[in-house]
Amino acid sequence: MTPRRNYARRYVWFVVPAAFAVVATILFPWLFTIYVSAFDWRLGGAREWVGFANYTKLFSDERFGWAMLRTLLYTAMAVVFPLILGLVAALVFNQKFPLRGLARTVFILPMMATPVAVALVWTMMFHPQLGVLNWLLAQIGIPPSMWVYSPDTVIPTLVVVEVWHWTPLVMLLILGGLASLPGDPYEAAKIDGATALQCFWHITLPLLAPYIVVALIIRTIDALKAFDTIYVITQGGPGSASETINIFLYLQAFAFYNVGYASAVVVVFFAIILALAALLMWTRQRVKQ
């Protein structure tokens, strides 16, 4: 027996508590969810083994399909806009100007607010007759909007809340990247007569790419998981116009008590998130190289 193996055997017991915690809180729930997804089971009713039937039903369920499309649309918008605005904000806050510290603090305030509280405040502001947003529009002569009270505008409006809430996080991540950029390339570019735009495009952006990809990964996973604000503001409505996968899942599990079917949704949705995360991680590696 080598000394190295002795070492491993001696300390293996130190791993046990953590391993137990992982098995109990992550692995077991996962295996149980997969197991339950093979049953036709309504809470309070009988359980019947159906194998993959819940999965086949899922892929022919039009409502699931629409929920998936809405989730992707919402995610795309809730990732792209905070990234662009966060990048711009980071570039601005990277400059020196009076009261910059105060301005930064004010800018990151939304991020500190509780999502449910944020959602309740926005709900009041969106009210078509009594909300402050339509009052503001009226002051500048713009006709009122239906905001979350119309199937046509509900998703973009929910994205506005998400952008307001999470752009500061993107800004902080990119600002951290900007602070670590070397000064030499800029000096060399200046000597060569590069414009500010050229510096940004050919130096800043490529050097910031790893940070932007990290922000992209975090935002994508966050946006895919979005539930609280959507549920509080619209509960998936009007009709099903803002029913994303998470709302669909919630309804199946906790309103209709279709535990088996909801478990199948969880498994499929997790696989999608995993695939997307893997794709983004791969992109990050490529960018680094």
Binding site: R42, L43, G44, G45, A46, H127, P128, Q129, L130, P144, M146, W147, V148, Y149, S150, P151, V154, T234, Q235, G236, G237, P238, G239, S240, L251, F254, A255, F256, Y257
Partner: protein
């Protein structure tokens, strides 16, 4: 939670002689037999839940039992108790059950103990409990098909017509007695330039089904399932109800009503922006609060208008039950006797917190006379009791029913064809109902 106001204290003082009388009558009954025990109570966040927490000390002093009262918002509470019941070890000893949503589910699984057995137990039931004081309709509402009564009825919630007296008087309009009159009145009152609308009502899916059923209850068919327990939501009567729903919500309500639940409707009505609103009587209290409402003192209360064939108002309600697995059924039963006793039910009526399941509060003229609610409120409430009919079908997947039908209704507000929507929704829900009927 609202604090106790001077008016409430006065009402309490008025009711005090009754308490003394009760205590005298119960002197032989040992309320303190479970002294030192602790029970957990889980109820919905509502004026009724608030009353229980406000007066919890009274129960603790009466019995020596400590009661932890958990108050959870309505929708989350319904989910929470079902999940806890299904786990086999609910954390509560007394739980509120929405009869219009969970009655069948709780009954089928036999999650609660049969209250009839507890009532019959003379050693555990106070002599003045007076089960016959509970309205016959409420007793039937709380009784399962097999005769078990697994909740003690707590309150009823009738749908009534709230109207803004000022707005109706300004156009010299009488309180409508049928839906055509109501629609015409709403259109006459409407003044979009001032953001005044004739009507406001629930448009949000799921929540909106109970408004639609208020129209359906006036038809020949009245119900959503027939005697054979088959779905009948695509019939001529159901389509008629859908057209009514569509015209009120699309043509006579504020823009954006498609996303309104009761709270948005209540706010709109309280701000004086809507002349008429059909909804539960339990939402009356804030309307008469001058610190929150611009229409306090100007609210009229009337029966839901008559339909073309029948005249009913939608009935919803809740009961309090004791889980079969509770180890503290005795203390929990004492809690039910107190929480749904004559005194607490009188408080419920006086506070406008809902319609008590007991009859005796309605005969207490003194307390009614001191209430901040006008006489019209109490007379509407009593008259509604005579025409009340279940506003939702007594089926297991009632939430799914509300979701599917509710989505179709919401679509009609957007301009979709009521016939196509109701046919599609009925076809979508039929297999769900058939399956649940086979199992249940």
């Amino acid at each position: 939670m609202q604090g106790i106001k001077r008016r409430d204290a006065l009402l309490g003082a008025l009711a005090a002689p009754m308490v003394v009388e009760q205590v005298g009558a119960q002197s032989a009954f040992d309320w303190k037999r479970f002294r030192g025990e602790r029970i957990e109570v889980s109820v919905q966040l509502s004026p009724r839940g608030n009353l229980l927490t406000q007066h919890n000390r009274e129960f603790e002093e009466l019995t020596g039992i400590r009661a932890g009262v958990e108050v959870v918002p309505e929708q989350q509470h319904r989910q929470k108790i079902i999940i806890e019941y299904a786990s086999g070890r609910p954390s509560f000893d007394v739980g509120e059950v929405s009869l219009h949503v969970n009655k069948r589910q709780v009954g089928r699984a036999r999650w609660n103990t049969d209250i009839n057995a507890l009532i019959a137990d003379r050693t555990l039931t106070a002599p003045d409990f007076d089960f016959n004081d509970f309205a016959q309709g409420m007793r039937e509402y709380a009784t399962q098909a097999d005769g078990r009564m697994d909740t003690l009825p707590a309150f009823a919630d009738y749908f009534i017509l709230y109207y803004n007296k000022e707005l109706l008087a300004a156009k010299n309009i009488a309180v409508p007695t049928n839906f055509d009159e109501m629609f015409d009145s709403a259109k006459r009152i409407e003044d979009r330039s001032r953001q005044i609308y004739g009507h406001v009502g629930r448009g949000l899916k799921n929540a909106n089904v109970v408004l639609w059923s208020s129209f359906l209850l006036g038809t020949q068919q009245r119900d959503m399932i027939n005697a054979q327990r088959q779905l009948i939501t695509d019939t001529d009567d159901a389509i008629w109800a859908t057209r009514q729903y569509q015209r009120f919500l699309r043509d006579a309500s504020p823009p954006g009503s498609i996303g309104f639940n009761w709270n948005e409707c209540q706010t709109t009505f309280m701000q004086g922006r809507a002349a008429m609103w059909i909804d539960g009587i339990g939402f009356a209290a804030p309307l008469e609060d001058p610190t929150r409402s611009r229409v306090a003192g100007k609210v009229g209360y009337a029966l839901v208008p008559r339909g073309p064939v029948n005249h009913h108002c939608a009935l919803f309600g809740a009961g309090y039950g004791i889980p079969e697995n509770s180890r503290k059924k005795g203390p929990a039963w004492l809690y039910l006797q107190w929480a749904l006793g004559k005194q607490m039910q009188l408080r419920m009526l006086a506070a406008g917190a809902g319609v008590p399941a007991r009859l005796s509060p309605f005969s207490n003229e003194e307390v009614i006379g001191q209430s901040r609610f006008p006489r019209e409120f109490f007379s509407t409430l009593q008259a509604s009791g005579r025409i009340a009919r279940a506003g939702l079908p007594e089926i297991l997947p009632v939430t799914e029913f509300r979701d599917v039908i509710g989505t179709a209704l919401t679509n009609t507000i957007g301009g979709a064809d009521p016939v196509a929507e109701m046919r599609a929704a009925t076809a979508a829900f039929k297999p769900v109902l058939e399956r649940s009927e086979r199992e249940g």
